[in-house]
């Protein structure tokens, strides 16, 4: 524990120290070194806890009312700590390369806030006191806000930051209510033992779901996500999408694990929210033209998949289906790890593209695989992994979810069968659209011919960026190949959530690790087949003249790169199919003469919940607060007076 706290202290210390370093390059390197060294030290404790299964706790009293500095590391915390430290360290390496692009800026502030973000996320998963939790949660939100608004000279970035900070504080308001209620029922703000039953526990669950769900980006609380992620520098997007939104998921998991009574309908609710987030998330991702915005929507989709897993686990717990409980949660946890790897990787790849071409619009890119081969290679691995395709890690997580759903679908109980089948259908559909979305991103950005001179003049990314992307790519492959060894560790974490009688030995269709060995064998067979076939083809072509020519153009004499299919045209059929659900806006000048003069087509997809829920609500609030304007004088002394009056009223009321 001391080592872990020392590691965190070191991260914070280097963050503060970096404020005094003038030179940008030295500053980011110093901060990154702090993150990496601190993480390496701290992660040892987490790994020890994860493998030994013991729980470490640490408590010192604190001046703050109801607060105590109470931290506990159990295996759930340990798993999340490992994700935080691993993904953030790699992002820090990437940041050294990425931030080098900002030559004229001082980089002290982003370095400081990055280190604070890492430390606060680590604290979030350990804190066991409500007050402490809210404090570190708030530090996390604020640090990420300042990182999102790093490019604050752009209007759009300020706007994104504004949406983010409002959204995150609405979430925090629910969490405040959650912890106050929890503390009131429980008698203490420490939340390791909770005795809340009946209706109260459902209320607590819903409060936690909204509060944490806002951070996680569950539809329809996701609106900040597609705004904030594209605005932030790419390694920050990677950390936010890969790690920070998982803090919301952590909150939901922790709530599930501490509430003693589980209701079946919680599981139903999570599965439904998961399916909605997953399907709409990936459909909106398909409709985007901006590469980072698209990745942000895909995070909503993946949070949906994670929620489906958590919901299945809850249904299994409440409905007495062992396999669903264990493998549902295991699938969700594995997908959390996997998503932190491949989504970070994809954001970093997108960052490398933006860094080198200075545009995020996919339709202006193309042909980058020839100019940025290493980035493209890592990106395609990330794309295969995120589509959940074998032999990479994404498949293992989805396999567990499918497997548990299939096993649960055999049950006699309709209350279990219905969500299981819905999950199967939704996962299949999400998987299909994910392939569409990621073949689009990879195909349009990296393949074909460059569509603009910016794409034609692109250059390979910096060494630090390449190294960090490939590190993540290797981890994706590694988890895919060593899945049967990873699963027991995950299941030991799941055992923190489900009671011990759900031991894996009593599962029907038991030994899920045995099936994973079959999958690993298939993966290895796949690699062998690929190399054998490659060899056969080389031999077949050995003594022949292999020629290079133009792409077959169907006799059209002068094709230009602009004729290529664009991201809009690629996704048009699917987006069009769902245009009513997505409120697709199109601007079209129809061709209605024999000799068309000029035609034009433009489509864009505003966020439905933003457009039809939040905007009207905030307009209404705006009108309401407008009526209270007479209170505002803009004089600080008056506000001090208001505070004093409020205090007096409160005192009188309490006395």
């Amino acid at each position: 524990m001391i080592i872990l706290l020392a590691g965190l202290g070191f991260i914070i210390f280097t963050g503060i120290a970096s404020l005094f370093i003038k030179d940008g390059k030295t500053c980011t390197r110093f901060g990154a070194a702090g993150v990496i060294i601190g993480s390496l030290a701290a992660v040892t404790t987490a790994i020890k806890v994860l493998f030994s299964g013991e729980t470490i706790s640490f408590k010192i009293p604190w001046q703050v009312p109801y607060g105590s500095f109470y931290i506990v590391i159990d295996s759930i915390s340990a798993l999340f700590l490992i994700i935080v430290f691993m993904a953030c360290s790699i992002a820090a390496v990437y940041g050294c390369g990425y931030m080098a692009g900002y030559k004229q800026r001082r980089l002290s502030a982003p370095t400081f806030f990055f280190n604070m973000l890492v430390a606060s996320m680590a604290m979030v998963v350990m804190a066991r006191n409500g007050v402490l939790f809210l404090v570190v949660w708030e530090i996390m939100s604020l640090a990420s806000y300042f990182l999102v608004t790093f490019d604050h000279e752009h209007e759009s970035v300020r706007q994104a930051g504004w949406i983010y900070i409002v959204a995150t504080h609405i979430g925090t308001a629910f969490l405040l209510a959650f912890f106050v209620c929890l503390g009131k029922y429980n008698g203490t703000m420490d939340f390791d033992n909770v005795n809340v039953f009946g209706k109260a526990s459902s209320v607590l669950f819903l409060l936690a779901l909204v509060g944490f769900g806002t951070k996680a980006g569950i539809m329809p609380m996701h609106v900040w996500l597609p705004e904030a992620h594209p605005a932030a520098p790419s390694h920050i997007s990677a950390v936010m999408s890969g790690v920070m939104i998982k803090m919301g998921v952590y909150g939901i998991i922790r709530t599930i694990s501490i509430l003693p009574e589980i209701q079946l309908w919680w599981g139903w609710l999570l599965v439904i929210l998961g399916i909605v987030s997953g399907l709409l998330g990936i459909l909106f991702a398909l409709a985007q033209h901006d590469i980072k915005r698209m990745l942000a929507y895909s995070s909503v989709e993946n949070i949906g998949i994670i929620l489906i897993g958590l919901g299945l686990g809850l249904i299994g717990l409440a409905g007495g289906s062992y396999i669903l409980a264990v493998l549902g949660f295991a699938g969700a946890l594995l997908h959390i790890i996997n998503h932190s790897l491949f989504k970070s990787l994809l954001f970093m790849g997108a960052g490398a593209v933006v860094h080198s071409t200075e545009t995020r619009r996919m339709d202006l890119l193309g042909g980058l695989i020839k100019r940025m081969p290493l980035t493209a290679g890592a990106f395609v691995i990330g794309a295969i992994a995120i589509c959940g395709l074998p032999p990479l890690n994404g498949f293992i997580g989805e396999f567990l979810l499918y497997y548990s759903s299939f096993a649960a679908a055999l049950s006699k109980d309709i209350q279990i069968v219905a969500p299981a089948v819905a999950a199967i259908a939704a996962l299949a559909m999400i998987g299909g659209f994910a392939v569409a979305a990621f073949t689009k991103v990879f195909g349009i950005v990296f393949l074909g011919e460059p569509r603009t001179s910016a794409a034609a003049n692109a250059h390979e990314a910096d060494k630090a960026m390449i190294v960090s992307m490939w590190l993540l790519a290797v981890l994706c492959i590694l988890i895919g190949i060593t899945a049967p060894l990873v699963l027991p560790v995950i299941i030991s974490v799941v055992m923190q959530i489900v009671p011990a009688e759900y031991e894996i030995a009593v599962l029907p269709f038991n030994q899920p690790d045995k099936m994973l060995w079959w999958i690993v064998i298939s993966s290895i067979a796949l690699f062998i087949l690929i190399s054998v076939l490659a060899m056969i083809r080389r031999n077949l072509l050995k003594n022949k003249t292999v020629t290079a020519g133009p792409t077959w153009d169907c006799g059209y004499a002068a094709p230009t790169p602009r004729i290529q299919y664009t991201s809009s045209s690629f996704s048009q059929p699917i987006v069009d199919m769902f245009k009513n659900a997505m409120y697709l806006k199109r601007n079209e000048v129809k061709i209605d003469e024999l000799f068309p003069k000029q035609a034009q087509f433009e489509s864009h997809t505003p966020d439905v919940s933003n457009e039809y829920i939040y905007r009207p609500v905030f307009k209404w609030i705006d009108r309401l607060t407008g009526k209270m304007q007479w209170l505002q004088y803009g004089v600080v002394q008056m506000y001090v007076l208001y505070i004093a009056i409020t205090l007096i009223i409160l005192l009188v009321w309490k006395l």
């Binding site: 395609v380 055999l410 259908a425 690929i530 290079a548 133009p550 077959w552 045209s569």
Partner: protein, 306 residues
């Protein structure tokens, strides 16, 4: 001994006989049209010729384009080791193998699509775009149909499901089996780019899906793709046959030839469909696939009766 024999015969039969399916379809279509048609073994001649040709690569393409045929063929070969013929275990037979099989097909789709986009041709982009659209709709139909069969037979691997089909099941649960059959037939036609979803014979690129995605492949690469298309057809036909026919009532020496014969019957039926129908307009294809989803869901609902 018996098990090992089955394990070896199953993939071997698929690998040797799969191209013949294409020959049979063409033979049926020629007969319907009153032509003499190609020889039955024409696909084998084509493969042989292509394998010994040289290749032309577009200068736009990258390693993705060259990796695509190899990954496709490798993945589909792996799937042939999962799908049994008749009954009995295959080499890669485990609980949940149907998920692996479906996702290996997804891997093929991923590579074929990025391979098509790698050429920078808008025709191939068009085919790729349609491919991802239709397969995203076929996928849920396939999975729900598999879930219905899993419920029907209380097992979650292809070999167990195939072995659990009995004549009694046709007597008591024919509704489920029929609906699953209908759903799988639609998925088969869509996944294998046959009429009414796609026309493998047109050479008008604007209407094609699968054929247009591989326009630029030549030589051994094209042979690999042609062969994997044949294997894919074999696999779906084998799934269809396995879901329908109660193979468990006969010894394996009979069940395997019967299954192979049934697979060829499926290819004859495909040929008949292709001769009697025109392909649907592209905007109508999703309706067909939604029908498949609906049929599969109905099949699933019928499994609640027992």
């Amino acid at each position: 001994m018996r098990d090992y024999a089955i394990m070896i015969i199953q993939p071997a039969a698929a690998m040797v006989l799969a191209p013949m399916l294409l020959g049979v379809i063409n033979w049926v279509k020629a007969n319907f049209a009153g032509r003499r048609g190609q020889p039955l073994l024409q696909p084998y001649y084509d493969l042989w010729k292509l394998l010994h040709k040289s290749a032309v690569y577009s200068s736009t393409t990258s390693w993705i384009f060259k990796a695509m045929p190899i990954v496709c063929l490798s993945a589909i070969l792996l799937v042939t080791f999962i799908i049994p013929l008749g009954f009995g275990k295959t080499i890669l037979s485990f609980n949940g193998d149907l998920i692996l099989a479906a996702y290996l097909l997804g891997l093929i789709r991923f590579f074929i699509v990025i391979g098509a986009l790698d050429t920078g041709s808008s025709f191939e982009g068009m085919g790729a775009s349609r491919e991802v659209q239709f397969s995203a709709l076929a996928e849920p139909a396939f999975f729900i149909a598999m879930a219905a069969m899993a419920r029907q037979t209380s097992s979650i691997s292809f070999s167990n499901i195939f072995s659990a089909i009995t004549p009694q099941m046709w007597a008591t649960n024919s509704a489920t089996l029929l609906l699953v059959t209908a759903a799988i037939v639609i998925v088969l036609l869509a996944e294998n780019s046959r009429i009414p979803v796609d026309d493998p014979n047109t050479h008008l690129e604007l209407t094609m899906i699968h054929e247009v995605m591989i326009l630029d492949n030549s030589g051994p690469d094209f042979a690999f793709l042609l062969y994997s298309a044949a294997l894919k057809l074999w696999i779906f036909a084998a799934i269809l046959v396995g879901f329908i026919l109660p193979m468990n009532v006969m010894p394996w020496q009979i069940s395997i030839p019967v299954s192979i014969a049934a697979i060829f019957v499926v290819s004859i039926l495909i040929g008949i469909v292709e001769s009697c129908m025109a392909r649907l307009r592209l905007v109508r294809v999703p309706h067909l696939l939604f029908t498949a989803v609906a049929l599969a869901i109905l099949a699933l609902i019928f499994t609640f009766r027992n």
